[in-house]
């Protein structure tokens, strides 16, 4: 079998009743790598770590970060590039972008980093982008990994602008927040593009694990420049597209030209099954079997030197007379939808809190809790309930509770969740 990506789709309902109105249909789209050689030729990695060394990182946090960074260097190979930037009130290039050849020397330089001063992230990111572009790679994976435990002051806009420039040049940004002081809006905004993500680290003991996972993901990238193109039947519309696996995140999809929608999905690690949930408005249709849309996934497989590959799937829908249609919903589709709805509800709740609509926010959080209970996420549901209760009583939420909920609903927290994800 030639290597590629296999597309599989599941509809929320096998058939829809004949109707003279529009109907809503949910499509779970799963994409799994197929025919990959067992030992994937790994793509050269161009990694720049950006470490917050403000005084609040002093002690265990910075020690764990340095330890984790040294382990990363240990795992990298000699055709990879590594760079290290640190920032506090200013930014320093500790290790300029270079091939990972003299590991003891690189590790010694990491070991010398000390904590002091304030937090100014933008300069650090600017230097990181500069170092990333110094590496000479014709093909490969370029990433900036930023780790902070604090809020940066006054340069948020610049941080985002630099991140966009990086992402525009194919350099992904992973934003890692540790503790509960950091500005999650900023980190999430930074990561809201392809090849990027934000992650919440609750304790310093997790740092090594998270760094290790990130490195593994980068090394397992097998497809790049992945794009989903959807050709629609006249009268139908895409209401939303969200990634649900490996973690929940809205995905931008836009009508590129009449009835043809396009979404950029970035690089794909081979370790992940990717799944998306599509909300689709189906036009009024008569009894019969109708093609509804054609999905075309385009991608490069740089490891196999294959470019402009594509996988196609045509999605058909059965329309039957009303009396012969049962209202049964596919359990897998419902499960992911339930988690997605919980994620959306909590996101809406924080907006309500910002605008002072406490009751509305409480109701949304409550409902998010119900959805999570139903989806079997009992611990997280309880956290949401507690936060809702606190909000109703005091009009406030805790910063830690909010982060746990935000990242928990997306499936971006804790090792337990990640490993479950892989087994599933």
């Amino acid at each position: 079998m030639s290597p590629g990506i296999q597309l599989r789709w599941t509809l929320s309902r096998d058939m829809l009743p004949e109707s003279d109105e529009q109907q809503l249909m949910y499509v779970l789209l799963e994409a799994a790598p197929q025919g990959l050689p067992t030992s994937l030729p790994k793509l050269p990695l161009n990694l720049c770590l950006v470490i917050d060394r403000s005084s609040s990182m002093r002690g265990d946090r910075l020690m764990q970060v340095k330890d984790a960074a040294q382990r990363i260097v240990d795992q990298m190979s000699s055709d990879d590039y590594f760079a290290l930037i640190t920032f506090n009130d200013r930014a320093d290039v500790v290790i300029p972008a270079q091939r990972v050849k003299n590991k003891p020397e690189l590790k010694r330089m990491i070991g010398n980093v000390e904590a002091m001063g304030g937090t100014e992230m933008a300069t650090g990111m600017a230097l990181a982008l500069q170092e990333t572009q110094r590496a000479m790679l014709r093909r490969g994976v370029s990433r900036i990994v930023v780790l902070t435990d604090g809020r940066t002051y006054g340069d948020e806009g610049r941080c985002v602008e630099i991140a966009r420039r990086a992402q525009g040049r194919g350099v992904g940004v992973t934003a890692l927040g540790i503790g509960d002081e950091w500005n999650e809006d900023l980190l999430e905004t930074i990561a809201a593009r392809e090849n990027s993500r934000a992650h919440y680290i609750t304790s310093s003991q997790e740092i090594t694990q998270v760094f290790g996972d990130e490195l593994k993901r980068m090394y397992s990238i097998f497809a790049q420049d992945v794009q989903l193109q959807v050709e629609m039947r006249p009268g139908s519309l895409i209401r939303s597209l969200d990634r649900v696996r490996p973690f929940i995140a809205p995905v931008t999809i836009a009508e590129e030209r009449e009835l043809t929608w396009l979404s950029k999905l970035g690089d794909w690690p081979g370790s992940d099954v990717q799944a998306f949930l599509l909300e689709l408005i189906v036009p009024a249709l008569n009894t019969g079997d109708h093609p509804l849309l054609r999905m075309n996934l385009r991608y490069d497989l740089p490891g196999a030197n294959l470019h402009n590959q594509n996988s196609e799937a045509v999605l058909r829908i059965a329309i039957r007379p009303l009396e012969s249609v049962t209202y049964e919903v596919d359990a897998t589709v419902k499960h992911w939808l339930e988690r997605l709805v919980a994620y959306r509800l909590q996101a809406g709740a924080w907006q309500d809190v910002e605008s002072g609509r406490i009751e509305e926010a409480t109701r949304r959080l409550q409902m998010a809790g119900t959805r999570l209970f139903e989806a079997g996420e009992v611990d997280l549901a309880r956290t949401v309930q507690d936060e809702a209760t606190r909000l109703l009583r005091s009009g406030n939420t805790t910063s830690e509770g909010r982060k746990r909920i935000k990242y928990g609903t997306r499936g971006l927290m804790g090792k337990g969740d990640m490993s479950k994800e892989r087994e599933a």
């Binding site: 249909m25 209202y327 409902m367 109703l392």
Partner: protein, 173 residues
């Protein structure tokens, strides 16, 4: 189009969860117990119509001085107005065991919050309201202080009562 039973928003046919309030639009059939709490997080307006509260036996109007006990479930916002009888049993309904509490917290996620079937009882006597824990598995708390089981402890207007981890506020009029 269909209407969301929770928030009355118009939704397209085929919608599974309301786009406005996130409530389920699926018809609830014979399901497991926890789904019974589905759709209980309603706005206050719809709630009094829910016949979840069995009127306390023989409410002696004069003896209680016309007291009204109001319980507010803080996580769902559900409010219950109860004519103060002699005793109000708080717990979770269990048809099989024949337990029908006056205040059924099974509808507010009581199972997950650790509410026992027979959890506690509120008594109103001579104008004094007391709460007694019935050896519940997860305890009863007044303003975050656990009360000893089988002992009547007075409660006042505005106190926060916790059954297991489920929080309610009591209002007396």
């Amino acid at each position: 189009m269909q209407m969301c039973p929770h928030c009355n928003a118009q939704q397209l046919d085929g919608t599974i969860f309301c786009t406005d309030c996130g409530g389920s639009l699926l018809v609830i059939g014979a399901r497991k117990e926890t789904t019974a709490s589905l759709g209980q997080h309603l706005s206050e307006v719809d709630l009094p119509t829910q016949p979840t509260v069995i009127a306390a036996p023989e409410p002696p109007q004069q003896a209680t001085g016309g007291y009204i006990i109001r319980l507010v479930v803080l996580n769902s916002g559900r409010r219950m107005e109860l004519d103060a009888g002699e005793e109000l049993l708080i717990g979770r309904k269990d048809n099989a065991k024949g337990i029908f509490p006056d205040v059924d917290l099974g509808l507010d996620g009581g199972y997950d919050a650790g509410v026992s079937r027979r959890h506690a009882v509120i008594t109103l006597q001579n104008g004094t309201c007391t709460l007694q824990d019935l050896d519940s598995a997860n305890g009863t708390f007044i303003n975050d202080q656990q009360i000893p089981p089988r002992v009547s402890t007075p409660i006042r207007h505005g106190d926060e009562l916790k059954f297991g981890t489920l929080l309610l506020r009591i209002e007396l009029e």
